[in-house]
Amino acid sequence: MTATVHTAVPAGTSPPAPPRARRRRTVNLGERAIPYLLLTPAVVVMLVLLGWPAVQVIGISFRKLDLGELVRGELVWVGFDNYTKVLSEPEFWTITLRTVLFTSAVVAGTVLAGLLIALLMRHLSKPVRVALQVTLVLAWATPILAATTVYQWIFDQQYGILNKTLVKLGFDSFQGFSWFSSGTSTLTVIGILIVWQAVPFVCFTIYAGLLQAPKELYEAAAMDGATSWQAFTTVSWPAVRPLVTLATFLSVIWDFKVFAQVWAMRQGGPDGESTTLPLLMYLRGIAGRHFGVASAVAVLMILVLVVLTARYLQLLLRTREGDIS
């Protein structure tokens, strides 16, 4: 603001040509500096809160940092030892593959369900739509661990309402059925929980996109005799495509690093079969207190995430004005 005041100083009192030119240059410099100055606080905050921890994690991943080193404040550099250790465990590769598959399944489920509900919303009468929206917001607002507990109850072996209902419906084999007896089944339950929690955001995002599509286009399409599928592909889809892409990649990032639900449900069990990469990091770092090894897992997670979202990052860098599709 002070800089703009400077430019407003009348030129009259100042000496002629040469100094004038100099002042003009300073004004330009100041003007050019303003955006950067204005950006500084945000950049500094980001560097301190995001950049510095990231640098720390990378640094720690090259150190031996157990509780002893942490308490004594020792710096023990071990080069790539932590990485060799993590990468040489066959378990790591199983867990990585499992995490990638789990993430893809959950993201696909979330986006598909979100898209379908958004499309449905457009066709609903107002009271029904509002009721649906309120329900979605409530699901969204439920605290993560509260929702996890409720799901544990639903799927409980003895007292769960799901088994009881299935038995009532005549599926007697579900009497005392354990949903948590294998990793796949446990991850399916966790996946359903995460989808349930993630759908509202995706749904509202896509619905907002649908509202952007002018009604006239649908009317025109209807007049041209388009089927509802054609109306979707020619009118709705172009309107929501960038938002679906956005929601997909955000979901990839969120679901890839989800920890609380997976840990709270069964601590990555049985036999570690529902352990995902964030859990591995917790097991190595907090439970095992090998913070160096855990940091190496964290860095590797970032690398996997970069590979998974490479396409999106590419689009993001290539396009301007956020026109991503």
Binding site: V45, G68, S178, S181, Q267, G272, T275, A287, G288, R289
Partner: protein, 430 residues
């Protein structure tokens, strides 16, 4: 102006962030204070020493140490390992801490506790409970002292036993199973009744059965531990566990432990005749149902040899002084007082096996405490004294997976025990 505010907000954020890094051990002592005024921060766990004891102890300590204030803080077991990790790493850690006996070896091995080897005699070392002494020892040095021990007993309903015509508490496995049959015959018409509440993952109880067979879950080989969960003895222990679960027909979850759901609450509902529990869980049950306390008693987990008690899994706590403590001499004085005859006796009166006193007479006053003292005479063993064990408990416990897999029939006995053995060995190497 706006920029200035923004800058200031940024600066404040930075200050907060850095403060968050440095001062993560929130709630620790401000011990530096000039002159003779010092604060001794003591962290004991919820449910260990009763308040009457600690009040008297802190008062006596402050009276005998001029200018010293004791800052006594009760901690929760839940998440304590994380909290201790951050607290110990801070510049201002607490001066006296209580550690679970299964956690103590890992803290000792990491070198974050003050070496107390030279003070063992002054701290009453002659009377220490040997299993707790072992868990505080690492590499020939003593890093933690015993505090108290506790072991599991079978809490039971005296009124139900009477009605079912069971004259005396069982003293052998066969009598125990017979009692279950009798209880079932008497009360079985109530579908909610359970003769013995036993969830699938009470591995403390399983360990007791394995010890009783003469086995263990690991053997020490020099400095290393090797899992022995697939030994014949361990398998026999697991088979007996299943026998109990099947005989009782307990509706407790096979894929969870005694804390989820909390078994004391279920016992408190009055439809359970027995549960394998720590003595004070009766107090928890009585919160929901005050009448249950007078209708309950306890007996030691019966052995397969008639008339004997099975060896128990020795649970308990150690006391230690963090290596960064600025008042370690004061802290040692505090330990000395806490481990003295007077306070150890009070601990026994509160129903715990004192860690630094061989005098168990105070435990005989209450039937439940007496059962625990009797049970501990059958011999007690702790979890393998390796620093890696804490990782097993804080992370994924292969014993729990093994129990669930075998009890639900997902794996047969050999596969379940072999898998657990491999997983435990991997954890020991970790």
């Amino acid at each position: 102006m706006k920029r200035l505010t923004k800058l200031m907000a940024g600066a404040a954020a930075i200050a907060l962030a850095t403060a968050g890094c440095a001062g993560s051990g929130g709630g620790s002592s401000d011990s530096s204070g000039g002159g003779g005024d010092k604060t001794l921060t003591v962290w004991l766990m919820n449910g260990s020493a009763p308040e009457t004891l600690t009040d008297a102890l802190n008062k006596e300590f402050e009276a005998t140490h001029d200018g010293v204030t004791v800052k006594y803080e009760v901690q929760e077991w839940n998440g304590i390992q994380d909290k201790l990790t951050t607290a110990l790493a801070s510049q201002d850690p607490p001066d006296v801490i209580e550690l679970g006996n299964t956690q103590a070896p890992s803290f000792a091995a990491d070198g974050v506790l003050t070496d107390l080897s030279g003070d063992v005699d002054a701290l009453g070392g002659g009377q220490w409970l040997s299993s707790l002494k072992d868990s505080g020892e690492w590499d020939g040095m003593q890093y933690a002292t015993p505090f108290y021990a506790a072991n599991r007993v079978v809490l039971y309903r005296t009124d139900m036993f009477q009605q079912a015509g069971i004259a005396a508490p069982p003293t052998s496995r066969q009598e125990w199973l017979d009692a279950i049959t009798k209880l079932k015959a008497k009360f079985g018409s109530d579908p909610q009744f359970q003769p013995l509440y036993l969830p699938g993952q009470n591995w403390y109880a399983l360990l007791s059965f394995i010890y009783d067979e003469g086995g263990d879950i690991a053997e020490k080989n020099g400095k290393d531990f090797k899992a022995t969960v697939n030994s014949a003895e361990a398998k026999a222990g697991l088979e007996f566990y299943k026998q109990l679960v099947d005989a009782s027909g307990t509706t407790a979850p096979k894929d969870n432990d005694e804390q989820n759901p909390e078994q004391a609450g279920i016992y408190g509902q009055g439809k359970v005749a027995m549960m394998i529990a720590l003595p004070w869980e009766l107090g928890t049950a009585a919160k929901d149902n005050p009448d249950i306390e007078k209708n309950s008693s306890a007996f030691a987990i019966p052995s397969k040899t008639a008339g004997k008690a099975a060896p128990v899994f020795q649970g308990g706590s150690n006391l230690a002084i963090p290596v960064n403590s600025k008042n370690s001499d004061l802290a040692k004085d505090y330990l000395k007082l806490l481990l003295s005859e007077k306070y150890q006796k009070q601990l026994a009166e509160a129903g715990m096996v004192p860690g630094a006193s061989t005098d168990l007479s105070a435990l005989d006053a209450k039937p439940v405490s007496k059962a625990m003292a009797d049970a501990s005479k059958g011999g007690g063993k702790a979890a393998p004294a390796t620093p890696k064990w804490a990782t097993v408990e804080a992370g994924q416990n292969p014993l729990k997976d093994m129990m669930t897999a075998y009890l639900t029939g997902a794996k047969d006995l050999d596969t379940a025990t072999n898998d657990a053995n491999t997983a435990l060995d991997a954890a020991f190497k970790g």
